[in-house]
Subunit: 202 residues, 2 copies
DNA sequence: CTCCTTTCTTAATCATGATTAACTTTTTTG
DNA sequence: CAAAAAAGTTAATCATGATTAAGAAAGGAG
């Protein structure tokens, strides 16, 4: 397999050859071109997706018709609509590739069988979910402790590399404000340049 | 044991007698009086707490000095600062009893040992964390799809019984606005009474 | 390399909900 | 039961960020 799922799993649990083979047999590789969708509203979410390469986004359209990004998925993160996947009810989310991406998908059925046949995977997913939970709690904390401008500055400080990879309007959506407001913040980012004399050399 | 932890676990995995005994041996009962704390800032969170009876809240004080409730814990929910519990770093959260409460605590050490000795508990916690994750995603969705007034009305529609159990200012904090604004919303809740004639009988 | 689409910027006006402060009502406690 | 503490209300003013509407710049596809 030319993906990094097994390497990721082995950071948390040590699989033997047979267990690794069972994991490989449970998943399938998926390539998505930039702007391609692997989930759209009214479809049932069919798998949990491990991002092996590239970048994905999970979003929905709110009642004002605006895209609301709730999650990004980059290398070594899982992305899915867990609610739709578990219940089998139609999703109201989109999952779309922001860049050409390589995913490793595991269907609900394969997931459930794998957890029974390879108990270490139960442990792996428990650990991943704990990490997801602490990350989400931290995100909530920022929302309640900082205003939009501070949260934007904090985010670009934390993930400068990631910010380069996505359009600004997507970052605005993820952080919960409008692209116009993000532009306004950036416009007043470095007040020093505003004091430059007219006609001065740069 | 006079708590409902084992009953809760058995909704998701079937424990035999020996496994049940191991669970019981791993946990300890804690009683907290109303307004009592089981975690304060700068302390290391020592356990994950299952609420057997009563009601707890998890909150922090933001930089404006206001309490920000991030989670409530009622019967059959777990509550903790998972980040502090896992890393051993000091918490910046409070966990406080809103009512006299009965908790079942499991320390980090007992948790880790139990997961190894009773693999079914690995499964139980994986399932609980999945439920927590879908609940949190839904909460995010509401934040991005509704304004504060709509979110308040939606919440009291979903959990009318719970709303009775807690002071309004705590609900305001959980929903992310001020008690004054909640009062304002409630003041305009039922416009019909505003048309009553002066002096009319009620 | 040029056209067309996507993304970003700017500015004026507007709305939601915060802040402040005073006061009332309810609950708790000695 | 009385006093004190906690919780809830009201209203005036203010700030953050949304909305609307253009236009500019950047990026891709042919």
């Amino acid at each position: 397999m030319q993906n990094n799922l097994l390497a990721h799993i082995n950071k948390f649990v040590k699989l033997d050859e047979d267990e690794s083979a069972q994991v490989e047999a449970s998943v399938n590789q998926i390539s998505v071109k930039k702007k391609g969708f692997i989930l759209r509203p009214d479809e049932i979410c069919r798998a949990n997706y491990f991002v092996s390469k590239g970048c994905m986004r999970l979003y929905f359209i709110n009642r004002n018709g605006q895209e609301q990004i709730t999650q990004f998925g980059i290398e070594n993160w899982w992305i899915t609509d867990l609610s739709s996947l578990e219940t089998g009810h139609p999703s109201h989310y989109y999952i779309q590739a922001i860049e050409d991406s390589e995913l490793v998908g595991i269907s609900k059925k394969a997931y459930e069988e794998l957890l029974i046949n390879v108990p270490k995977m139960e442990r792996y997913f428990r650990i991943i979910l704990q990490k997801t939970h602490t990350a989400t709690m931290r995100r909530f904390e920022y929302i309640r402790d900082q205003n939009d401008e501070e949260r934007y500055k904090h985010f670009i400080g934390l993930y400068p590399g990631f910010v380069q990879r996505i359009p600004q309007y997507m970052l605005a959506s993820y952080l919960g404000f409008t692209p116009q407001f993000l532009s306004k913040i950036r416009g007043r980012k470095d007040p020093r340049v505003k004091n430059r004399e007219p006609g001065a050399k740069i």
